[in-house]
């Protein structure tokens, strides 16, 4: 994909410039409104999730907006009586909010998944966990997609 950059993009200061241009998703201004609220509302049936129990692990600053490692883990005994059934992951700064939904069961043993995601710009990643009793929990993490790395 690098070959399709024009010269200007290649020579621009900073790693993130290349990263943004190479993304499958066009970059937008930070925290532009997307369909994040609708997607969460659809998942929770309109219920407001409680903050807690969910842990989102992403780097504070992305090394490469094309592939940002993301781990979501939810506290739960994962027994037939009490388990996490689904975890929705969305972002508020990509053109579309949706990232993934993970489905767990007591057979999973633990509600934990890791994948790599595309972030078009600096934004928040939000995870919402649905418990088998119908309750919802959430966590948010801000990730910066930098354009000007000049540290040292």
């Amino acid at each position: 994909m690098k070959r399709s950059f024009d010269r200007r993009q290649v020579l621009t200061w900073g790693a993130g410039v290349a990263a943004i241009a190479a993304l499958g998703i066009p970059g937008g201004p930070a925290h532009a409104k997307n369909d994040v609220e609708e997607v969460i509302a659809k998942f929770t049936g309109g219920k407001t999730p409680t903050t807690g129990k969910v842990k989102l692990d992403l780097p504070e600053i992305a090394e490469n907006g094309n592939t940002v490692p993301m781990t979501v883990a939810v506290e739960s005994p994962m027994t037939t009586e009490s388990y996490v059934s689904d975890v929705l992951v969305v972002t508020d700064g990509n053109p579309r909010a949706g990232v993934a939904v993970f489905h767990f069961s007591p057979a999973s043993g633990v509600a934990e998944a890791n994948t790599r995601i595309r972030l078009a710009t600096s934004q928040n990643i939000i995870a919402v966990a649905k418990m088998n009793d119908g309750s919802f929990f959430t966590a948010t993490k801000a990730v910066k997609v930098t354009i000007g790395g000049c540290g040292g």
Partner: protein, 560 residues
């Protein structure tokens, strides 16, 4: 770090300042090696720490920052005090050796009195002296940024530093600029290192598995010490990712917690984090990860004469460029720190004698290049330095060179914290320029960029420095600019810190929609083309013969 009597004596001496002659007098009459190293030993373990040598083998001049802004919780705390405020905070007499070593106050005048600091041969003398005194209680740790940023380290791809450090026999190191040698060279050097290269926070990008040894344990003075390495978390962002495509970094708090637990469960009496996070990141980390006794900090080049305590964790900041060696004596009993004593030992090169073996090795390494490096290419009328949050005078010279040699309207120069200082009237040698520019990606690019894009880049870099959450900071200084000026309000959020951006050449505001010819160097993008920056700067100085830079900044800084 010096006794009060020491600095009063020297303060009196400097009052009767005689140009040129004081370095010797100072060395012979006022201070001795014994005084510099004087330390009332305590406990059963001695940690020696050096960090951020940046390829420097010889004694040098390095002016500490006059401006080092702290934001968020770090506002007003060390290391975010400078100049006279710093001296008052530590009750250091102006004009004293400590004042010279630790602050920017009267730097040019005091440099003539106290001379150069550092030199790996002097450091070797100190290390040997402490080992002779403390025997098997000593652990020597190198915090990284050792293998790059001088001419010889560049052309030997870090071999000069590896060979010299081998003589010091450190027990472990971690890294940052090391990685700009590229993955293959890093692996090659580590293989033959003879001691551990530790980094718990690097994983391979494919399988998310540890790419380096995370920790190592040492038995010293009957104490089991676990040393965990933490490389600079933002290496692939601040430096070229394409050179290390299969390694992913990050702070990785959870992994660190797991490693601390593993160390304790493995019987460690003392847990040390050999960190290249930067001071503010380590201060936050110490408040969130329990079980670490000592964090040996690096990266942000802070030199603190006292340990900083966060909860039960001691933070040590050992400065840069070989100016200091930190000695931390610890009394470890019942797997706890029962007491400690600390000294930031200033490596005054006129007082500490050179270790013969190290001096010979340094000379041998430098011999083929000594004549070229020592060649004077011009002279400076002003004090030239880089360190400080915004443009240093040396950066102004670099930006002037970029603007005139590359025929551009605006110049950008990276906010690196390394590079040596030059005194007014001093000849500029080729080595002085390499000391500020020697990197493996030196091409000077030249391109058009819209005013809006330029502001966006400056805002982004400013946020890497002034984000109130240290975990979002990268630890460099602000990108330096030539051909323009601006006002910055550090308290504002990203996107709104900068205002009044003016183009010097036209005297008009920077227009968002207009394209400007921009030149700069150290682009992290692969395939950047242009002459190496040192050639551009040397050509400029050779043409000008005499350069001068105004200490008055074109940047207005606002902070509540």
């Amino acid at each position: 770090m010096l006794s009060r009597r020491d600095f009063l004596q020297v303060a009196a001496a400097t009052a009767a300042f005689v140009p040129g002659g004081w370095s010797q007098a100072f060395a012979q009459q006022r201070l001795t090696q014994a005084e510099l190293l004087r330390f009332e030993a305590t406990g059963n373990v001695t940690l020696l720490h050096i960090a951020d040598l940046h390829g420097q083998l010889r004694p040098l001049l390095f002016r500490e920052p006059a401006i080092n802004i702290g934001v968020g919780d770090a506002k007003g705390l060390v290391p975010h005090i400078s100049g006279r405020v710093l001296l008052d905070h530590y009750r250091i007499a102006p004009g004293s050796p400590s004042a010279y070593a630790l602050s920017s106050e009267d730097f040019a005048a005091l440099a003539k009195s106290y001379g150069r600091l550092g030199g790996l041969d002097r450091i070797a003398t100190i290390v040997k002296a402490v080992r002779a005194e403390r025997g098997d209680r000593v652990l020597l740790l190198d915090g990284g940024d050792t293998w790059q940023n001088s001419y010889t380290s560049l052309i030997t791809k870090g071999q000069d530093m590896v060979d010299c450090l081998a003589l010091l026999k450190p027990d472990a190191m971690t890294g940052h600029w090391e990685f700009t040698l590229g993955a293959e060279r890093v692996k090659e050097l580590i293989e033959k290192l003879g001691f551990k290269f530790l980094a718990q926070n690097i994983r391979d990008t494919e399988w998310n598995e540890p790419a380096f040894e995370a920790m190592s344990t040492f038995d010293r003075g009957g104490v089991r010490i676990a040393v965990i390495g933490q490389a600079f978390p933002y290496t692939p962002i601040a430096n070229p990712r394409w050179m290390i495509p299969n390694w992913s970094f990050g702070i990785r708090e959870d992994e660190l917690r797991a490693n601390v637990t593993k160390a304790r469960n493995g019987g460690a009496d003392l847990v040390v984090l050999l960190s290249h996070n930067g001071f503010d990141v380590d201060r936050k980390l110490a408040s969130r990860v329990s079980g670490i006794d000592v964090i040996l900090t690096a990266h942000t080049h802070d030199a603190l004469p006292e340990a900083v305590k966060v909860g039960k964790t001691l933070l040590i900041a050992s400065g840069c460029h070989g100016k200091f060696v930190s000695r931390l004596d610890l009394d470890i009993r019942d797997r706890q720190v029962k007491g400690y004593r600390f000294k930031l030992i200033p490596v005054f090169s006129d007082i500490i004698p050179a270790d013969a073996e190290m001096a010979a090795t340094v000379s041998r390494i430098r011999a083929p290049h000594e004549a070229m490096l020592g060649e004077t290419i011009g002279k400076t009328e002003s004090l030239l330095y880089r360190r400080g949050n915004f443009n240093g005078t040396l950066d102004d010279i670099i930006c002037d060179a970029l603007l005139s040699e590359r025929d551009a309207e605006i110049a950008l120069s990276p906010g690196f914290r390394w590079g040596t200082s030059l005194l007014p009237g001093q000849g500029i040698t080729r080595e002085d320029i390499y000391n500020a520019t020697a990197i493996t990606y030196p091409a000077t690019y030249r391109m058009t960029m819209s005013g809006a894009r330029l502001k966006e880049i400056l805002e982004d870099v400013a946020d890497n420095l002034f984000n109130p959450d240290p975990y979002y900071q990268q630890g460099g200084d602000m990108v330096r600019v030539g051909g323009m000026s601006y006002t910055i309000d550090v308290d504002k959020p990203i996107g709104s810190r900068l205002s009044d951006l003016m183009v010097t050449r036209t005297g008009k505001p920077l227009e968002p929609a207009r394209d400007y010819l921009v030149t700069g160097w150290a682009s992290v993008n692969e395939g950047t083309e242009g002459p190496p920056v040192w050639d551009v700067v040397m050509r400029h100085i050779e043409k000008k013969r005499v350069v001068t830079a105004s200490p008055t900044s074109r940047i207005r800084v606002l902070q509540k």
